[in-house]
């Protein structure tokens, strides 16, 4: 058996790397792999298989070839829903990222009032999505809710926020942001606390102000966190749906139909499980592609530490 020193030396030399590194063997990963395989991979495969069938939920699925897929690509509602989904995703990302970044960096300070306020900001994360959506739904009632009083102040004379296209989309972005900003704030807070104080000390000596320090030190140091948080946000936005179901139910008209909403309706209202599976597969493909793209083009894949050279 080689000594620790020899192992390190071997790795440095680049030889016998696999054999020398003492890693747990495959048995350690078995439980997780089984769990993942059974609850994630297998259903995924089944959904893809189901997308080539028609199935009402009773009896056996019948093979349908490419029927669902050709329907998917000629379905104007899918196109509109894809656009709405992407629009909501971009808008959610563009509002949540700066907010949670600023809040997170602020909350990273060690002052007591910041600790207390951070705890308060964190509260929405403890509520269930359904409860949040139902609560805001009440607020948005145009005759008896907050919307009746606050609507006129923001340009909705009759409180009709959720009954207009723009208002409904904005309401969704707001509610989802209200719910998830705390989570991303938490990520940024943890990351910001990990930035070595020595960097700021050096910058101060060099005469950098607060903005300079934020711009030149904090932001670059948080690069990997931005990528992580953005990936979570974007993939999350692609699939969130309960908020929409409860807040606008897809309305007004078809203004807030997103892909998961169409999938739910095809499956559980239309009992067209084959077509619902097709939409689900499309979502998987879009989601995977997007996260791969983010990882690829952000340099995240290289896993370069922001602490190199310190």
């Amino acid at each position: 058996m080689s000594t620790a020193f020899e192992k390190v030396a071997a790795v440095r030399r680049g030889s016998r790397r696999a054999a020398a590194t003492p890693r747990p063997n495959f048995l350690y990963i078995l439980p997780a792999a089984l769990f993942f395989g059974f609850f994630a991979l297998l259903p995924l495969v089944l959904v893809v298989a189901l997308s080539f069938t028609t199935w009402t939920g009773i009896g056996d699925p019948e093979a349908a070839g490419m029927e669902n897929w050709s329907r998917l690509f000629s379905d104007e509602k899918v196109l509109a829903a894809t656009r709405t989904t992407l629009f909501l995703t971009v808008l959610s990302w563009a509002t949540q990222t700066p907010l949670s970044l600023l809040l997170g960096v602020w909350a990273a300070g060690r002052q007591r009032n910041r600790a207390v306020l951070s705890a308060v900001f964190f509260l929405p994360l403890l509520l269930s999505s359904a409860a949040i959506a139902l609560m805001f739904h009440r607020f948005l009632d145009p005759n008896f809710g907050l919307a009746a009083d606050l609507g006129p102040l923001i340009g909705f004379e009759d409180g009709n926020i959720i009954g207009t296209r723009g208002g409904a989309l904005a309401a969704i972005v707001f509610v989802v942001g209200w719910q998830f900003v705390p989570f991303h704030t938490l990520i940024y807070q943890a990351a910001a606390r990990n930035i070595p104080a020595v960097l700021y000390d050096a910058a101060t000596i060099d005469g950098a102000g607060r903005w300079q320090a934020f711009r030149r030190i904090t932001l670059p140091q948080l690069r990997n966190t931005v990528v992580t948080s953005s990936t979570l946000m974007i993939v999350g936005s692609l699939t969130f749906f309960e908020t929409i179901l409860l807040l606008t139910n897809g309305g007004p008209g078809i203004a807030t139909h997103v892909l998961p909403f169409l999938m739910y309706r095809a499956g559980f209202e239309g009992y067209e499980f084959g077509y619902a599976a097709t939409i689900a597969t499309l979502l998987v493909v879009v989601g995977t592609t997007l996260s791969l793209l983010i990882v690829r083009f952000s340099g995240f894949a290289k896993m370069r530490s922001t602490l190199e050279g310190l």
């Binding site: 009402t56 939920g57 009773i58 009896g59 104007e76 509602k77 359904a130 739904h137 009440r138 948005l140 009632d141 145009p142 005759n143 008896f144 919307a147 004379e157 009759d158 409180g159 009709n160 926020i161 959720i162 009954g163 207009t164 749906f241 309960e242 179901l245 409860l246 606008t248 139910n249 897809g250 309305g251 007004p252 008209g253 078809i254 739910y264 309706r265 095809a266 559980f268 209202e269 239309g270 009992y271 067209e272």
Partner: protein
């Protein structure tokens, strides 16, 4: 509001529950019927369950094969029926909403065709109101026996507002439009509409099409006849709807008004709006949330008659009733049918229903309606349906399941001004293509 479990189809929160029910365990809870017993699935409802139980007790007394009542929670009931009906866990008799809720099962041959049992026993068949019995037909055959209250859609009026503005309750379309103008001048929204849901908007389209073109227009659509949507009555109904919306008959913020949670009922009972087109359950709902209003200021009447329309002036739309259906592979089918024959139109059962506020779809019960909580309202609902030459099941229940959502979307787009008549027709035809 248990007395009338309205059309509120299933729970908004079905997502998780439904998925779990489908891929999780089948049949759970409740006491299953043992061998030599037949199960009767109903919704849990503290008012109606005792009436059903009493009917089973009467039947079971003399019967060899006894019936067991199995109340199920409303949430997930449809899914439970859906997954169990093709399996050994199936009920023998089950509660349903007729139309789209059982059409798939009827076509798959999972339900007993009750036509021979009705035709072979004219006394049993004639015990029910024909328009309601007919409304439950699927592909020309009977699969359901009416078992609860009728829920036609009709107009409700806030008489306090009518009195203050000094207008009369309208009977014709011209009068209706005139009343709307006067209410608007008085600063009152003429009609309350919960436009956050599209099934409330559908009621307007249903009645306009019925009054303008008659029952056949939608019958053709439901049957899938080519070009049925292009009937000029549809275009005129859509144009009429758009002009109502544009002239402010429904106010400006209807698209944000909810039915769920009582927002629209409050708009109506508080006098912000003067009229409301809704199912007959509106009465029960108002009685629960605004009892004073329901007692003193609430009036009702049929949908106005359109003078130059081709439709029968007495025709109604809505939810004819709830039905009991029998599964075809039930081992105790004969006993189940014998139970339905003995009890569903029996005097004791009908009186039991009337006592809890129902208006059963049973023929010749005008005299007995005096036992109702509000005999006047019960008599109105009963006469409305008894006089009606046809009772059109709500369109979203009557069309093929997968066509309902596109149709409802298109209707709400009409109300939002996003679709005109041609666009509405095209949207529906595209969905069926």
């Amino acid at each position: 509001m248990t007395a009338s479990m309205p059309r509120r189809r299933f729970l908004t929160l079905a997502g998780g529950g439904a998925a779990f029910a489908l891929f999780g365990a089948t049949g759970c809870g409740g006491e299953d019927a043992a061998d030599g017993e037949f199960s009767v699935w109903v919704l849990q409802d503290e008012n109606v369950n005792p009436v059903s139980q009493a009917s089973l007790d009467r039947y079971n007394g003399a019967a060899e094969v006894k019936g067991v009542l199995q109340p199920e929670v409303n949430t997930g009931y449809r899914d439970k029926v859906h997954i169990s009906i093709g399996t050994g866990q199936r009920p023998d008799v089950f509660f349903n909403w007729g139309g789209g809720s059982i059409r798939t099962y009827a076509r798959e041959g999972l339900l007993e065709d009750l036509t021979p049992h009705l035709d072979g026993d004219p006394a049993f068949k004639n015990a029910f109101l024909p328009s309601v019995l007919d409304a439950g037909k699927i592909d020309g055959k009977f699969f359901g026996i009416p078992m609860r209250t009728m829920q036609p859609v009709h107009m409700f009026y806030n008489t306090k507002v009518f009195g203050e503005v000094g207008v009369e309750i309208p009977e014709t379309w011209t009068q209706f439009l005139d009343v709307c103008e006067k209410l608007k001048s008085a600063g009152i929204t003429p009609v309350a509409l919960a436009g956050a849901q599209s099934w409330t908007e559908l009621m307007w389209i249903e009645y306009l099409v019925e009054r303008i073109g008659g029952a056949q227009v939608f019958a053709d659509i439901a049957a899938g006849t080519a070009g049925a949507w292009q009937n000029p009555a549809i275009a005129r109904a859509i144009d009429t709807t758009r002009s109502l919306v544009d002239s402010g008959v429904f106010g400006t913020n209807f698209a944000a008004v909810e039915w769920e949670g009582g927002a629209v009922q409050q708009v109506f009972s508080s006098g912000k709006a003067a009229m409301h087109l809704m199912g007959s359950w509106e009465y029960t709902t108002q009685l629960g949330s605004a009892p004073e209003f329901a007692r003193d200021d609430l009036a009702w009447g049929p949908f106005p008659v359109i003078e130059d329309g081709a439709g029968a002036p007495d025709a109604v739309v809505g939810n004819p009733t709830n039905y009991f259906s029998v599964t075809k592979d039930s081992a105790h089918k004969d006993a189940a049918i014998a139970y339905l024959k003995q009890e569903m139109a029996s005097e004791a059962y009908v009186d039991g229903l009337i006592a809890i506020g129902d208006v059963p779809a049973v023929a010749d019960i005008t005299d007995r309606l005096s036992g109702a909580g509000n005999p006047e309202f019960a008599a109105f609902v009963y006469d409305l349906v008894a006089k009606a030459p046809s009772f059109q099941l709500s369109w979203d229940q009557a069309v093929e399941r997968e066509l309902a959502s596109p149709m409802l979307d298109a209707i709400s787009q009409v109300f939002l001004g996003e679709l005109d008549a041609a666009g509405f027709v095209k949207a529906n035809e595209d969905a069926a293509a």
